[in-house]
Amino acid sequence: MISIQNVTKYYPMKGGAIHYVLKDVSLEIPSDHSIGVLGPNGAGKSTLLRMIGGAESPNSGSIRTESNVSWPLGVGVGFQGSLSGRQNVLFVCQINGLSKAETKQVLNGVIDFTELGDFFDMPVKSYSSGMRARLGFGLSINFDFDYYLIDELTSVGDAIFRTKATKEFERIKQSSSLIYVAHNLKSLEDSCQSALFLRDGDVTYYENIKDGINAYQDYIKAKSKSS
């Protein structure tokens, strides 16, 4: 369970204006199934994920959980460009206090999954976005989290990566849940049971993902009509 209480998050804009991402939102995210996050561009989906993952803090309110939550996984998230893939992986192992044997296991797991070859020892800034996505996903699946935060990860991968990722999603979903941001509604519907719909600083929870997707599509239709 992740409990979001009275969370407000805003960004200051040029000229002193304030852009609200979340306005006094309270919400409980269950841990027994996966959740798709819906919303137009700039609604704050990535920010919500970053806050749940602890990478960023809300301006007020609190996000509490007893569960083990992954870092937000997305294109080029969580890697230092000047370090090689291997050095980045070692960094994550070090800060989490892994033993030598565990570190070795993670390294081998990442090498197997990512198939980066010689690129594994090259700086991450020389990677393509697909290679970064592979590294990010390959690293996180070697850890056992209760929640995996995934931000548009598969959209940049090639067919090989997507097949592999789908297989891993299925495995992860047996014991953990995904909080999944994607603009591809089909893959959201396939992987998730419930939905969060973000818009204009507010969040609505839909027990059934289909209802969430319908609400989202209605919202888009209404927007495009009015403009």
């Binding site: 083990n68 890697f79 000047s82 994550v92 800060i95 565990e102 296991q105 070697n142």
Partner: protein
């Protein structure tokens, strides 16, 4: 089998993060050079040789009993103990943005890691230079070792306090970075790096003494070279600086820490 991350105490977790960040500094600073960490020694040596050749004929005799190159080296190492943390603080966040996404990496950790890194490398260089000086027959005394260490630490704390404070401030006001660069340039000439402070006429000296670096540099020379004496300096003044700027630095960080992790 995937690995379950074990819960750690906040303290242990921060130690792990800072260790990992230190290693990361080591890799990115020296990994790309063939000579690696030897550059810790070469950098100050080159500056001292260049300055020694240029200024030696004019100022060489002002250092009295202390050979001028070692007189310069003392000043130089403490100058970089101050400017090093300031400059590395300015880019601490931007250079580690990719790693701040991990919950365990707090925004202050890159600062701490970089400051510790500079303390270690600069101290190592200073120790090596002292050994070389001793070997060359310069009279170096270890009787005042605690004072010498205090001089080094105080300078480093002032630099780190300023580095944290300015590093945070520069993320809000980008122009500040330019200003800091300009202010730093004359530091070499007003900080008693090149001459003993007592060689300056009293009416100018009283202004130069507002600079805490003058006090720590001269006190370090007095501690290391027993026959070198300067009257107008003390360690209380830089200690007060250290206390005030580190408190201000931590306060500035605390008030802005949410803003730092925003992208």
């Amino acid at each position: 089998m995937a690995i379950r991350i074990k819960e750690q105490s906040a303290w242990r977790s921060q130690v792990l993060v800072i260790k990992a960040l230190l290693q990361r500094e080591l890799i990115t600073r020296f990994g790309k050079y063939k000579l690696g960490a030897i550059w810790i020694l070469i950098d100050p040596l080159v500056s001292v040789i260049v300055l020694g050749i240029m200024l030696g004929p004019f100022l060489g005799r002002s250092s009295g009993v202390v050979p001028y190159p070692f007189f310069l080296l003392c000043g130089f190492m403490l100058l970089s103990m101050l400017t090093g943390p300031i400059n590395s603080g300015l880019s601490a966040i931007s250079a580690n943005q990719g790693l701040l996404v991990f919950k365990k990496v707090q925004a202050i950790d890159p600062f701490i890691a970089r400051f510790i890194f500079l303390l270690l490398t600069n101290s190592a260089a200073l120790i090596v230079f002292c050994i070389i000086a001793y070997w060359l027959g310069v009279v170096i005394s270890l009787n005042h070792l605690p004072e010498a260490i205090t001089c080094v630490i105080l300078t480093w704390v002032i630099g780190s306090g300023l580095g944290l404070q300015l590093g945070v401030a520069c993320l809000k006001f980008t122009e500040l970075e330019k200003v800091i660069q300009y202010i730093q340039r004359p530091l070499l000439f007003v900080s008693a790096v090149l001459y003993p402070i007592d060689a300056i006429p009293p009416e100018i000296r009283k202004y130069l003494l507002y600079n805490p670096l003058v006090h720590t540099i001269e006190c370090l020379r007095m501690a290391l070279f027993p026959s070198y004496v300067v009257e107008s300096v003390n360690l209380y003044y830089p200690a007060a600086w250290a206390l005030i700027v580190s408190a201000l630095g931590l306060m500035t960080y605390r008030n802005n820490r949410h803003f730092l992790t925003q992208r």
